[in-house]
Structure formats: structure tokens, C-alpha cells
Symmetry: C2
Subunit: 324 residues, 2 copies
């Protein structure tokens, strides 16, 4: 049984995981959907009630029914390296590739549907509440009056993009910022705005979860009182830390509810030691945490991908397994 990794060519994080898989002797096929059609080819036949499908990449042929797991790491957009690319060819290639893979019995890290849903910040906040994670008071609104009233109740606020987009996407690099006390909120009518009570934090927490494994790292807040850890000074290192049992239980419930096999949670730790949920990024980077803390995250990912998959196939597969 083979592990399929969908990612672009230059991906050192995937390289780290492949090293572990190779060491375990687990067959791996790595391909970039951007190379379909071209260096990547596929074929699937539906005859007499059965399906037989194959993928070819770098001269290797792999059966779709022989896939153990699929890691959706950083796949390129299908057909973008085709000789004659077009939106139509991208759509056709994407439907062919993901349509066949969606019908397989492989385990996903993460399933495309679960990944897409998990990007919705308003949904994240609601799920976190339901799982019992402390969520800072938050308002998402396009009503200026609602923003004004919220700011009266919670004078110390930060503002964030609703879509939770990260600086990795240059056009959307909007860091979390503090809201000045005399802010005029009338512009809220021109775009939904996310306001959140600022947590007076003593540390940032990054909790990386791979299947059942939880690896937490802690970074003491600097003097500068920076709000957004992604823009913090790098002189304070990340250090491995323990996960409080109540948080572990709630986080496990969150990932079950979200149907995610992998999630990178950001928390703010306050003076009482409470971990406040900020977000869960289903495709969050882990390389920097592994380098600074020495935590074996790549190894955990490799173990999950290589494991025989005794857990029931996620029901977001729909067409996989027997129909419920």
C-alpha cells in the first residue's frame, strides 16, 4: 500500500516526511497536480460495477485502490504546467484527479472538503465554543452600531481579517492589530470586520496535532507586547510544553467535529495560564516548530500516513466504502 503526497516540487517539509517514510520502507508516490496532463497521467475505468484506476508520475505507475493514504500538502493547481493551459483544462484535470481520488478508500490528511470547511473562521469559533475551548469575545459584523456597542463592552480590542488569511499569501497579509480607543467604526459597513477582545498574554502556544498525537510549543511573550506572533521578534525560542488535559480533550473533540487528521492550533496563554483559542489552521506549517523544539512532528506525520488505517474512513469520503 502506497502513500500519495500531493505537493509542489520545492517543499522541504514534504522532504522531511519522505525521509521518514523511506526509512520505514513505505512506498511513496509524490506528484504535483500542476503536472497533469504531462509528467502526470491518469486513467480510470468503470466497467461491470467496478472501478480500476491508476496514476503515473515520474515513470511510476500506482493503482488507486493500492493507496493507503493521501497527504494534501501544497498541491499546485491542476494543468498549470500543461503545454496549453486554460481554465477549462484546469477544471477538467482537477475533476478527473480529485474525482477519482475521492472515490478511493485511502485516508486523507486532510480531506479536501474538511480542509475547505475548516478555513471558515466564524465556523472555527463556533466549533471551538461547542468543544469547550475558551474563545475570546468576538464580533464579526457589517453593522457599525454593533461594532460601537461591542467596543464599549470590550474596550481593548484587536481587529483581524475574517478569512484568517496568512502572510504566506502576499495579497492578503493583514496582521492582527490593536484597535485605537477612538476608532470610528462606520467603515465596517463596507466589509464584514472581525473584532476580538485582546488577550493579555504571557505566551503564545502552537499546538500541532497529528491524528491522536499532540505536540505543543510555547513562546514567552516579549516586552514589546506584540499582538501577532507571526510578526514577533525571533529572539525568543519556541519550547516544547505539556498540553493541559482539559485542552487535550477539547482539541480532540474539535478535530473529530472538523474531520481533520492534522491541525495547527494557535492559543494565547493569559496570566492565569488559560489557553485562549485563536484559530486552527488545517494546513499550518510545522517545520519551524520542529527545528526549534526538536519535536518529531514530521515523524508523526509519516507514522500517520504509513499506519494501516484501522480507524474508520472519514464519512466526508461519501463514495468510499459502503454507503451508509
Amino acid at each position: 500500500m502506497t502513500v500519495l503526497i500531493l505537493t509542489c516540487e520545492e517543499d522541504v517539509t514534504a522532504d522531511m516526511v519522505v525521509v521518514h517514510l523511506n526509512a520505514s520502507g513505505v512506498p511513496v508516490v509524490r506528484l504535483d497536480p500542476a503536472d497533469l496532463p504531462g509528467a502526470v497521467a491518469l486513467s480510470g475505468e468503470y466497467v461491470h460495477g467496478a472501478f480500476r484506476g491508476h496514476l503515473q508520475s515520474a515513470g511510476r505507475l500506482v493503482s488507486i485502490s493500492g493507496l493507503r493514504s493521501i497527504w494534501v500538502r501544497r498541491p499546485g493547481t491542476p494543468a498549470t504546467r500543461a503545454p496549453d493551459p486554460s481554465d477549462w483544462l484546469t477544471e477538467e484535470s482537477s475533476q478527473a484527479l480529485y474525482g477519482m481520488l475521492r472515490g478511493s478508500d485511502a485516508r486523507w490528511m486532510n480531506h479536501p472538503d474538511a480542509a475547505r470547511r475548516a478555513r471558515h473562521k466564524p465556523w472555527q469559533l463556533r466549533l471551538a465554543q461547542r468543544c469547550g475551548l475558551p474563545v475570546p469575545a468576538t464580533l464579526i459584523t457589517s453593522f457599525p452600531q454593533a461594532a460601537r456597542e461591542f467596543a464599549e463592552r470590550y474596550p481593548d480590542l484587536v481587529v483581524k481579517p475574517v478569512s484568517g488569511a496568512h502572510p504566506q499569501d502576499p495579497p492578503r497579509a493583514v496582521p492582527t492589530s490593536r484597535v485605537a480607543p477612538d476608532t470610528d467604526f462606520s467603515a465596517v459597513a463596507f466589509g464584514p470586520t472581525l473584532l476580538q477582545r485582546r488577550v493579555a498574554k504571557r505566551a503564545d502556544i502552537r499546538l500541532t496535532v497529528v491524528g491522536e498525537r499532540m505536540l505543543a510549543a510555547r513562546k514567552t511573550a516579549g516586552e514589546a507586547d506584540e499582538v501577532d506572533v507571526r510578526f514577533a521578534s525571533p529572539d525568543v525560542p519556541w519550547q516544547a510544553t505539556e498540553v493541559p488535559p482539559r485542552v487535550a480533550t477539547a482539541v480532540a473533540a474539535y478535530l473529530r467535529g472538523a474531520e481533520l487528521a492534522y491541525g495547527a492550533f494557535d492559543f494565547a496563554e493569559d496570566a492565569d495560564g488559560t489557553w485562549w483559542f485563536l484559530e486552527c489552521n488545517q494546513s499550518g506549517q510545522f517545520g519551524f516548530v520542529e527545528v526549534e523544539t526538536g519535536q518529531p512532528i514530521a515523524r508523526a506525520v509519516a507514522d500517520w500516513l504509513a499506519s494501516p488505517g484501522t480507524e474508520p474512513s472519514s464519512h466526508v469520503n461519501g463514495a468510499s466504502g459502503t454507503v451508509r
Copy 2:
């Protein structure tokens, strides 16, 4: 409890359903996401572990917890009618609106995740097979040699777009066509191609399913032997017909597996009376069938949307209800 309809302004099919809902006295809010921000506004507050959200459209305010059902009919792209539209504003508005709605307990016709998945033709074919529906022998391939071998086994073939795109999308208007016996398949390498054994049909079947209700219509095949019913001459009318019990059982399983509340199935009926599965369109039009057959499809949609929703909330909601 209110029915929320997401659609554009000019949508006569939605108008038909609204007439029935109004007649039943069920509160309805209809809005186009393209009007957010602007004529549509929203606000959601996450405080002390609870969520309170509201939508405003045409001066009406509706609580998100008071939504009974959500009909995703033909919604515009969020923020496209904003005073200063941009990709960023569309993303922010989309995440705010759908992120909040995804956290509600309302029933969806159809849930966005299920709808997106259901558009994958290769996944449809596999699910149809698994549910016991007869599927014509089909090959989806970018290997010319595989296409040649398939054409030898099944000399009478049609070719279709993999993405199953419909003529409603002008740039993708590719009708199903017969494959000439001397076809050179080398171009298959430049784009995945769907080849399917042509069913010698005596009729086209459109089966519209709304929740548990199945409404089938039949159109006798014309002399011209046209392959694609969408391009057929309009002089043969659609007529109501019975659903064979085995088909009904398989179709019910399909919709359960696909987590769809609405689906429009296309079948080809052969000389033996067998219904061959061609596709299931989760957003298929039903107005033309209702007009020709007199079948009460709009009424069935209205009934589903208005019903109290005793059936369990679909698990694609994830953040809705209790966490499993």
C-alpha cells in the same frame, strides 16, 4: 422558524417556490450574497461560549438561530455588487456569511460541501456503481493507449467533458458527441477525456428527487437519434412516469451517500427498459419538467424547506449540533 433562500434577483424557479411558502404562511428571507456588504448586512457575536447572529436583507432582520432551512439556489458571488468590489472583499464576505451559516443548525438544500463534492463526475460514477445503479462502461484517461484499447472493446462510444459542465456556462458548452470509428486518440494525452459506451436509448429519463419524494419524467427518443438530450428537438414532450422500485432504492442510497437533499438524475432508458445512470446534477433545473409534466416539484421543494426538520442534521455541518 424562517426559510433562507440564497439566490439572485431574477430567478423564476425560486419565485415558484416562494409562492408556495407564502401560501403556507412560512416566513421566508431571500437574499443574494452579491449584495453583502450593502443591501445585505450581517452580525455575529461569540461571547461566553454562545453565538448570536443576525442577517439583514431588504430591511428585514432574521436571527441565524431562527433559520429552519437554507436553500442554496443560485447565489451570486459575495460582494460583487459592493461599491468597491475586490477579490479580498469577496473572500472576507464569503467567509463571514457562509462561515456563520455553516455553524447554524438549519437544514441545507444542498450543503455547500456536499454540493461541491457532488460535481465530481468520476466520484458520481463510483457512487452510482456502489449503490447498484447500472453505469455504462466508462473510461476517464490521459493515456492514448488506454483510450485505444477501450475503443476496441466498446466501438460505439460517446465523449463528454469530465467536469460535466452544462451549456448554461457558455465557455464550457461541450455537448456529448459520438466518437467516430477511426478516431486518433493521441490528443488524449493533452487532457483527461471521458469516453462512455453509448446507450442505444429509447427514452431519456429525468428523475428529480426532493428529500424522500421522487418525480420521474420520460421523453421518448426522437428519430434523429440525438445523443445529448439538452440539444434535442423540443417537439417531444416530457411525460410523468413511474420509478422502478429497484431504481428508487438505489437512488435513495445515492442521495444518502452524497448527503444531498436535492438531486436531478439523468438516465438513458434502453430497449430492455433498463435505466442507465448518466449523471446526478445537485443543482439541476426543474422548471421545464414541472411546466411540461405538471409534476409539483416546486411544491415539493417548498414542503421540504418548510418541514420542521425531524431528520438528523447532516453531518457535513460539522460545527452544528453536538460534536460527535
